[in-house]
């Protein structure tokens, strides 16, 4: 392919990559072809020499591929974020520079064309495509066959405002409702005991149904700790639990919204 045509084809491919959506696998072929074209420009610009077709294919592929990190590093150095459009523009600039060098060189010494090259490209592309088909079929077959089940689990997590607890919670005399998230995957449905402990004391307990492969939200009532000292508050569901720390109301305060406060002497 003559150099002007090669430049035009690469620029057209880059334009297509930037302005089109969908069909990602088609664009992969377009992108690889564009990179091979850029690699070919590198070779024409730097070497300008005839070489065995397989050497040309390999060097063009390698040079085209490394154009991407070269452009990315240049964009980074210029403070430009790496996005599809900026990469494509960077590659287009590279194509322009390389194309200019090649055209200048060819004005002096002509452009060597290798009649063996198209057939050698076929010798690489055809078995390459065949092995891709075999690989795709093998992957598809493997994916469709039954696989052993993965180990299941049940998780318990603080949710809502409770997920943001980052220090002891001040709990008013009326107690507090703690939102929780219960999730189960890979396990059959079961009933697990849901318990609340304040310090060593079990303050509530009830069975709770945990559905298979489902996530649900629950609220658990936690009564106020007996004093303003720091108390360990544990909410457990079967073998899983969450733990946070809280203080009860100060003796003279009768009501209180959830708030936090410093420790108190005498605890």
């Amino acid at each position: 392919m003559t150099t002007p045509r090669l430049i035009a084809a690469v620029l057209a491919a880059l334009t297509l990559l930037v302005f089109s959506n969908g069909l990602p696998w088609v664009f992969v072929a377009v992108c690889l072809a564009a990179l091979a074209g850029i690699g070919e420009l590198w070779l024409r610009a730097l070497s300008g020499e005839v070489m065995p077709p397989v050497t040309r294919i390999g060097l063009a592929a390698a040079s085209g591929l490394v154009s991407l990190p070269f452009v990315a590093i240049t964009l980074h150095a210029l403070g430009i974020l790496i996005r599809a459009r900026s990469i494509a523009i960077g590659l287009a600039v590279l194509v322009g520079v390389l194309g200019a060098v090649v055209l200048l060189r060819e004005r002096r010494s002509g452009s060597p064309a290798d009649p063996r090259l198209p057939r050698m490209i076929g010798a690489v592309a055809i078995p390459g495509l065949l092995t891709l088909v075999v690989g795709f079929l093998a992957l598809s077959a493997y994916g469709r066959l039954p696989h052993p089940p993965q180990p299941g689990y049940t998780s318990l997590a603080l949710a809502g405002w409770a997920a943001d607890i980052n220090q002891p919670v001040a709990i008013g005399a009326r107690g507090v409702h703690v939102p929780l998230r219960v999730s189960s995957a890979g396990r059959p449905g079961a009933t697990e005991p849901l318990r609340v402990r304040v310090g060593p004391r079990l303050v509530s307990g009830r069975p709770m149904a945990v559905a298979a492969d489902a996530t649900r939200s629950v609220e658990v009532f936690v009564p106020a700790p007996p004093d303003h000292c720091l108390h360990r508050i544990e909410i457990s569901l079967g073998a899983t639990s969450t733990v946070f720390y809280g203080r009860g109301p100060v003796a003279r305060v009768s009501t209180g919204r959830v708030s936090t406060g410093p420790g108190q002497t005498g605890c």
Binding site: M51, V66, L81, A185
Partner: protein
């Protein structure tokens, strides 16, 4: 207007020696026979590889047999077509391409959907960060220097951004291309040294016997792209050395430097390896120039390009990636210490090969046998180099340099006996095997050609194929654990099988509720998932930041104040605890990092009390629990407060 002229020939000296390509009509029948053979054997091989994975998943124990049968059922006929005298140039390249594609299949079947090997998580994260933030050189929490070498992940991210495919699919496109480039690159490099296409094809196949070829250098890791770049840099270097003086030599020199720069921006060790190979070439060229058996211009070209590449490497490591020396140094220092320990009377630091490995006995014997075969092959190559002088000055220099490179395989094999040196030794084989492949290939072809009678030739070819099969099985077994090669039931402490859905769910929850880029403390295996898919910044401990002391502290003992101060001042917010550490021994004998001060005596190093103590400390709020995995939020202000 562009002037166009057709090419008469490209390299007179080499073209004369090459086997003339048969006419198209004459070569069509063997090409069709070859295509039919390889399509059938390729399909059969792929089916057997799938069967191997199935056997491994269901733990039937048959995976090793299926795997090797599947691999050999394709590769052996492919090799026969490659070394057949009547095979034309295009057919040979077509078979090599098919060989490269097929040998990527084991890795593709192992990791079809996403990262699985340790370093793959680091590169996946880095590519993801580029897509999200659009910036390079961000520090990676899984492998700390990965971000400084953006060659691979910027290529993958760019392809993903330009085409719309996922990061993983973008990575597969780059890696399959790189794998093909290695095979073709070794072929072309061999043609630079031995002007005989059969020898070059044998060299490409022999390089495919190295321990990293099937799994390690096919992973989403920087060496997978850097090694083909190294090979093609050497091709360009040979062309520059050989090229006629003037513009052609300058042109090939520019290609050499361009590919050197790309290698450096991709992987530190490969860049150093490239420099090492170039220095070996220079040393051999200089020695030959002093004996007047070498044109001085060739030596000067080699030296100028090597010095230029060295300047690039040193500048890059000093300016762009200054952390690299600190990253690599402990591995080397500890390996040498352990080597000294082994040599001493105590025998400390020794590593037992295949300890607790589930690899079958024949793989283990083949692993030891492969070393012996490499030794015998190199001895034969030395004899041939000594008494058969072929090619021009550059070819001879290249062959001698490759012999020196291949000889380095054997000292590196000793390092495999030390825990810290094993990783480096395995990585070095991808370089040194290049030397072995390039100097042993003519020996193989000479053996084939020596047998003139058909039965003897068939017996010789069969024996050589058998030797290659032993080397392939043995090297692969020595280079990669079965858990990396095959799927299977979850195993704690395996980089590839620890990632049960429970860990991923915990990581997803943390990201969804608390955001990304959080500083967290974790073990090695949780850290891989939280640091990649979870988008967090995990720390798994080091000598200067001993986060593992959090886990090691007994329930009634105080956490070291220095550690608490470090965690607090560096804004660490979360602690991940995997309770499997109290029940199971990690498969690869690592909980956090290679130099961890944790006992490895065949029993779990932690008690359940050590791991559940955080349930009773007011400075750790347990916000998530799924049985094995618990997530705590640090509240350092509550440290030491009394609790009722």
């Amino acid at each position: 207007m562009t002037l166009t002229r057709t090419v008469a020939d490209d390299r007179p000296g080499l073209a004369v020696a090459s086997t003339p390509e048969p006419p198209a009509t004459a070569s069509r029948r063997p090409a069709l026979a070859c295509a039919a053979t390889l399509v059938v054997t390729g399909a059969a091989g792929a089916a057997l590889l799938v069967a191997a994975n199935r056997a491994a998943e269901w733990d039937t124990g048959d995976q090793f047999g299926f795997f090797w049968l599947g691999l050999l059922v394709f590769t052996l006929p492919a090799v026969v077509w490659l070394v057949r005298r009547g095979t034309g140039a295009r057919l040979r390249i077509a078979v090599l391409t098919a060989y490269a594609g097929f040998t990527y299949l084991p890795k593709l079947l192992r990791t079809p959907d996403g990262p699985l090997y340790h370093d793959e998580f680091a590169h996946w994260r880095q590519a993801h960060e580029i897509l999200v933030d659009g910036r390079l050189f961000e520090q990676n929490p899984i492998v700390k220097v990965v971000g400084d070498f953006p060659g691979l992940h910027s290529t993958v991210a760019s392809i993903s951004a330009l085409t719309g495919v996922s990061i993983w699919h973008g990575a597969l496109i780059v890696l399959i291309t790189a794998h093909l480039l290695v095979v073709l690159g070794v072929f072309v490099l061999a043609e630079e040294i031995w002007p005989e296409p059969r020898t070059a094809a044998v060299a490409a196949v022999l390089y495919g016997l190295n321990s990293s070829f099937l799994f390690f250098d096919t992973q989403f890791g920087y060496e997978s792209l850097a090694i083909p770049l190294l090979v093609w840099t050497l091709v360009a270097l040979h062309r520059a050395m050989r090229g006629p003086a003037g513009r052609a030599r300058y042109g090939w020199s520019a290609v050499t430097l361009m590919l050197s720069a790309a290698t450096i921006a991709t992987h530190h060790l490969t860049a150093l390896g490239l420099l090492g190979v170039m220095l070996i070439l220079c040393a051999v060229a200089t020695a030959r120039a002093l004996r007047r058996s070498h044109p001085r211009a060739v030596t000067w070209t080699a030296w100028v390009l090597t010095v230029a590449a060295a300047v690039l490497v040193v500048t890059y490591l000093a300016v762009v990636a200054p952390r690299t020396a600190g990253y690599l140094d402990p591995y080397l220092a500890k390996a040498l210490d352990q080597f000294a320990g082994m040599a001493g009377s105590s025998g400390s630091g020794k590593r037992t090969l295949f300890r607790e490995s589930v690899a079958p006995w024949w793989e283990r014997y083949a692993a030891f046998g492969a070393q012996g075969l490499a030794g015998i092959a190199m001895a034969a190559a030395l004899w041939r180099l000594r008494y058969r002088r072929e090619g021009d000055a550059v070819s001879r220099t290249g062959a001698l340099a490759m012999f020196v490179l291949g000889s380095l395989y054997f000292p590196a094999a000793l390092l495999i006996l030390t825990p810290s040196g094993a990783e480096g030794a395995r990585r070095s084989w991808a370089f040194s095997y290049l030397g072995i492949a390039l100097v042993v290939a003519p020996v193989v072809v000479a053996l084939l050609d020596h047998a003139t009678r058909r039965p003897v030739r068939i017996a010789t070819a069969g024996a050589l194929l058998g030797v290659c099969a032993v080397a392939l099985v043995g090297n692969t077994a020595a280079g990669m654990n079965p858990s990396y090669r095959f799927p299977g039931p979850p195993v704690f402490g395996s980089d590839t099988r620890s990632a049960i859905p429970e860990v991923s769910a915990a990581s997803d929850w943390l990201r969804a509720t608390q955001g990304r880029d959080l500083r967290i403390v974790a073990d090695r295996y949780s850290g891989l998932i939280f640091g990649s898919y979870g988008g967090q910044r995990p720390v798994t401990g080091s000598q200067s930041f001993r986060t593992y002391d959090l886990y090691l502290a007994q329930p009634d003992r105080e956490i070291p104040p220095l550690l608490i101060q470090q965690l607090s001042s560096w804004n660490f917010g979360y602690l991940i605890v995997d309770r499997r550490m109290a029940r199971e021994v990690p498969e690869i004998q690592i909980y956090f990092e290679t130099n961890e001060p944790v006992p490895h005596d065949g029993k779990p190093a932690f008690t359940l009390g050590q791991l559940t103590k955080f349930d009773g400390t007011p400075w750790t709020i347990k916000i998530y629990d799924s049985g094995n995995i618990a997530i705590y939020r640090f509240d350092f202000a509550s440290l030491g407060r009394p609790v009722r």
